[in-house]
């Protein structure tokens, strides 16, 4: 009998994933759905194996080590899967499995065969690269797979490249993601200079200035990828442009891989962490969480709304990481552990419910053919299963008990409440402010999802397409169902899970046991439903809501999403800074004959108008100037520049020596 070890199994699983990817390339022009079906089935199998392996590592805590140095010598292909990595691989493989199931039918409404096959190829490659980024033990292999992840996701975002909007989004994403890699490389070079090795292992002592520099550039690098405000701008562009299964993978997994990098470096690589890092992370997280939900509230594009919620949830996870660093620097290890577990658990949870929401949103969008929620409505009767799944996701993300979002946010609140244990009053104050902002954020998130669910699924359809929508096909229900089941399961059984895991890592977690309450509630609900069914003998009666005496009611009379969010927008108008533009143009100078007018209310896009665009304009101005300098195709300017450069160099030497 062959003794199959875990690492062989792991390599086998990832090899299967690669095979599944390459298979579609072999039959690139085959129209048959079977090609994609086979590829996706193999990928599903691979993900199932990965789930088994990673959960066994999370359970036992014994790390897995292997390398590909025989195949790729001198490339630093060393891998190590410890508990942290295994946890992230578990998240990746669960969500990837659900997305794979979903993708069986999702692409059907696109006509281009070759493009769909390439899509499947890239999707498998994307998942594979994420698994290996997390498993990397070496900065070189980390960067290689990181870039593979970036590039494959860039092509995936550009699926519908014939649309100008998609091309813009793809380019924006590509530039941001390359910027992120630049910062990562900077940090890696600093670390390499200090430690002399590229291995991702605990670094030896180094000067605090350099360490802080490495941290800052890592924070920016991972922050761009994770979508921390103010580096978030690619998210609301890329997510609406990408196909929904890719949005689910990117929002559910890729930004988590960036967070994994941050956690890995903070806890396992850096020889020390400082208090101000924690405060920086905490404040960045709080700002992202708050502004993320604020921007989500005014959004009427369903996927962009979800993208802003990703920013919010990344902020919440970052708060947990920041708290962990703060508590560690005060030596409160138990609290640090609770914050970290809150962050990690919320990472998994957010991956689950955000992918669930993106997938169901994808079903809705492919039926209604619009992303504007003001043109949806009434879908609960037409797509009941999708509606229920979206509802579960919405309740989870709003952090209502007994769903999983509640549990992780509860842990985070718990650790924030412990700020009284910290001796420094200023840090205490900061944590209290963050606590209140987090509370506000949760409430606003709930309001936002009331708006989203209400406008998308309730009331009467607001457009022709919405009226003709049909339930999504089985795989597009089955994939999200897996995620929804996990959302409920991780919430309801959280007490049991944590009291089982707690002793293994040596901590106990203060969680309420939700199982009794939920089971009592469920039984009561069941009894009420059965009771009504048994006693209710009348036939259902169909009639219209009273419409103040107006004869025929149409969708124009419904409560709109804009109407719903208007009060909140009014309250926070100091953040939105709505501008009223009222311009009149006249035919003559005396301004008597009116020609045309322009009235517009728009929100200030703060980060775009005051951060991104000024930088972009400066770069553009410089490059235009350089272009005009080079545009003269003669030799003389270049000799002149050379002359100036050499003279400058000599002057520099004179100054230095």
């Amino acid at each position: 009998m062959i003794n199959i070890t875990l690492d062989m199994l792991f390599i086998l699983a990832t090899f299967l994933l690669l095979l599944a990817a390459l298979y579609t390339l072999l039959f690139l022009t085959k129209k048959s759905k079977i090609v994609r079906g086979v590829s996706l089935s193999v990928a599903l199998l691979a993900n199932a194996i990965l789930i088994l392996i990673s959960s066994s590592i999370v359970y036992s805590g014994t790390a897995l080590e292997f390398n590909f140095n025989q195949i790729f010598p001198m490339m630093g292909m060393d891998f190590l899967i410890d508990r942290l990595a295994a946890f992230f691989i578990l998240a990746v493989s669960i969500i990837a499995a659900a997305v794979t199931v979903y993708s069986f039918h999702y692409l059907d409404h696109y006509p281009q065969t070759r493009r769909k096959n390439i899509h499947i190829f890239l999707m498998n490659l994307f998942v594979l690269s994420m698994v290996y980024v997390v498993a990397s033990r070496n900065m070189i292999s980390f960067l290689i797979f990181w870039e593979l992840m970036s590039v494959s996701s860039f092509f995936l975002v550009c699926f519908e490249f014939e649309k100008a909007e998609t091309r813009k989004a793809g380019l924006f994403y590509f530039i941001m993601t390359q910027l992120s890699t630049v910062f990562l490389i900077c940090a890696f070079v600093i670390l390499y200079n200090e430690t002399g090795s590229f291995e991702l292992a605990r670094a030896s002592e180094m000067s605090s200035g350099l360490l802080s520099m490495a941290f800052i550039s890592l924070f920016i690098g991972f922050g761009i990828k994770a979508g921390i405000i103010p580096f978030h701008k690619w998210l609301p562009y890329a997510h609406p442009a990408a196909p929904s299964n890719i949005s689910a993978l990117m929002s559910g997994l890729m930004i988590k891989v960036a967070l994994y990098g941050l956690i890995r470096f903070l806890l396992y690589i850096f020889p020390a962490t400082y208090l101000w890092w924690g405060i920086l992370i905490l404040i960045a997280g709080t700002v992202s969480a708050f502004l993320g939900v604020i921007y989500a509230l005014k959004e009427h594009d369903l996927k962009r709304l979800l993208a802003y919620h990703s920013i919010e949830n990344v902020g919440i996870i970052l708060m947990g990481i920041g708290m962990c660093v703060i508590f560690t620097s005060y030596g409160l290890t138990a609290l640090a552990m609770i914050s970290l577990v809150a962050a990690l658990f919320h990472t998994l949870n957010h991956g689950l419910f955000k992918s669930l929401l993106f997938l169901t949103a994808g079903s809705v969008i492919s039926e209604t053919r619009t992303r504007n929620i003001e043109e949806m409505g009434g879908l609960v009767k037409r797509m009941p299963k999708t509606a229920v799944l979206f509802f579960i996701g919405a309740v989870s993300i709003s952090a209502l008990p007994p769903f999983n979002g509640f549990v992780s946010e509860f842990l985070l609140f718990h650790s924030l409440f412990q700020s009284s244990l910290i001796p420094d009053p200023i840090v205490q104050l900061i944590m209290l402010v963050c606590l209140t902002v987090l509370a506000l954020t949760s409430a606003l998130a709930a309001a936002c999802f009331v708006k989203a669910f209400g406008t998308v699924f309730l009331a009467a359809p607001r457009s022709e397409h919405a009226a003709q929508a049909k339930e999504a096909s089985w795989s597009m229900v089955a994939g999200p169902s897996l995620l929804a089941a996990l959302c409920i399961g991780l919430g309801v059984f959280s007490f049991q899970i944590f009291s089982w895991i707690g002793p293994r890592i040596g901590y106990s977690f203060p969680l309420p046991d939700m199982l009794p309450a939920v089971s009592v509630g469920a039984v009561l609900l069941l009894m009420i439903v059965i009771g009504f069914r048994l006693t209710d003998s009348r036939k259902p009666r169909v009639s219209e809501t009273w419409g103040c005496g107006i004869n025929s009611q149409n969708s124009k009379m419904e409560y709109t999403a804009s109407g719903f969010s208007q009060p909140i927008i009014n309250i926070f108008s100091f953040i939105y800074q709505p501008q009223k533009i009222n311009k009149r143009y006249f035919m003559d100078i005396q301004e008597t004959v009116f020609r045309e007018g322009k009235v517009e209310i728009r929100m200030v896009r703060f980060f775009e108008d005051y951060v991104y665009l000024p930088i972009a304009r400066t770069v553009q101005r410089i490059s235009r100037w350089l272009y005009s300098q080079q545009n003269e195709v003669t030799l003389d300017p270049f000799i002149f520049y050379e002359f100036l450069a050499i003279l400058g160099l000599i002057l520099l030497v004179g100054v230095i020596v």
Partner: protein
């Protein structure tokens, strides 16, 4: 024997003359007088080498003298003169970026700057002050050649600029680092080739770099279209 102080005085005088010849190259507008200035400069260079030979008795310096006289004093001016006859350009009065007077002032400034920067560096070497002065003037001459290159419009004067730069390098070499003779020979072969090629090319065109780039400008059309579409 000739006294050392006399030799040093002669060297100083030659260096001043060579700077003056470089300034002539910057300012003269008549093409023929440019060639003559260049020949004069090369001759001065040969004289410097002779004086140095008298002082140091190194046989390589004599080879340098012979090569310089043959190639730079006789052959290259001859070739350039032929070219000038063929394309019949008498004057090059077009300047860009910098006018002759400003160029003279700039060159003086450059000599001062380079002296200030390099002299402290070169003092590490076991050489006398006159050698440092010579090598500083050598570097400055390279810069002056560069100025000629970009401030003149005609190809034929640009070539003079390159040749001046080469003279600067040779000056630096004979004063300070003693280039291996073989390399020096190859360098001279190279510039002979440059002059030959220039001669051949000058026949084919109207002797201004702008015209040579006319067909390159058709490439610019492509960029312009893209600009217009934006």
């Amino acid at each position: 024997m000739i006294s050392d102080s006399l030799l040093e005085g002669a060297l100083k005088a030659l260096l001043v003359l060579i700077v003056i010849s470089a300034l002539l190259l910057l300012t003269r507008k008549n093409v023929l007088s440019l060639f003559r200035s260049y020949a004069l400069q090369s001759l001065l260079l040969a004289f410097i080498a002779v004086v140095l030979y008298v002082q140091e008795r190194k046989i390589e310096l004599l080879f340098t003298v012979v090569l310089t006289v043959i190639s730079k004093v006789i052959l290259i001016p001859f070739f350039l003169g032929r070219v000038q006859q063929k394309i019949s350009i008498k004057r090059d009065a077009e300047f860009r970026y910098i006018k002759p007077v400003a160029a003279v002032i700039l060159s003086t400034a450059i000599i001062v700057i380079i002296y200030a920067v390099f002299a402290p560096l070169l003092r590490i070497l076991p050489v006398t002050e006159i050698f440092i002065l010579g090598s500083v003037i050598g570097i400055s001459m390279t810069f002056m050649g560069l100025i000629v290159c970009y401030s003149r419009k005609r190809v034929i004067t640009k070539v003079i600029g390159y040749l001046t730069m080469e003279n600067g390098v040779v000056l630096f070499g004979i004063f300070l680092i003693e280039l291996p003779f073989l390399i020096e020979m190859f360098v001279i072969m190279d510039i002979l080739m440059v002059v030959m090629i220039t001669a051949i090319m000058s026949f084919g065109m109207n002797a201004s770099v702008e015209e040579f780039h006319v067909h390159l400008k058709s490439l610019r059309q492509w960029f312009k279209e893209e600009d217009a579409s934006k």
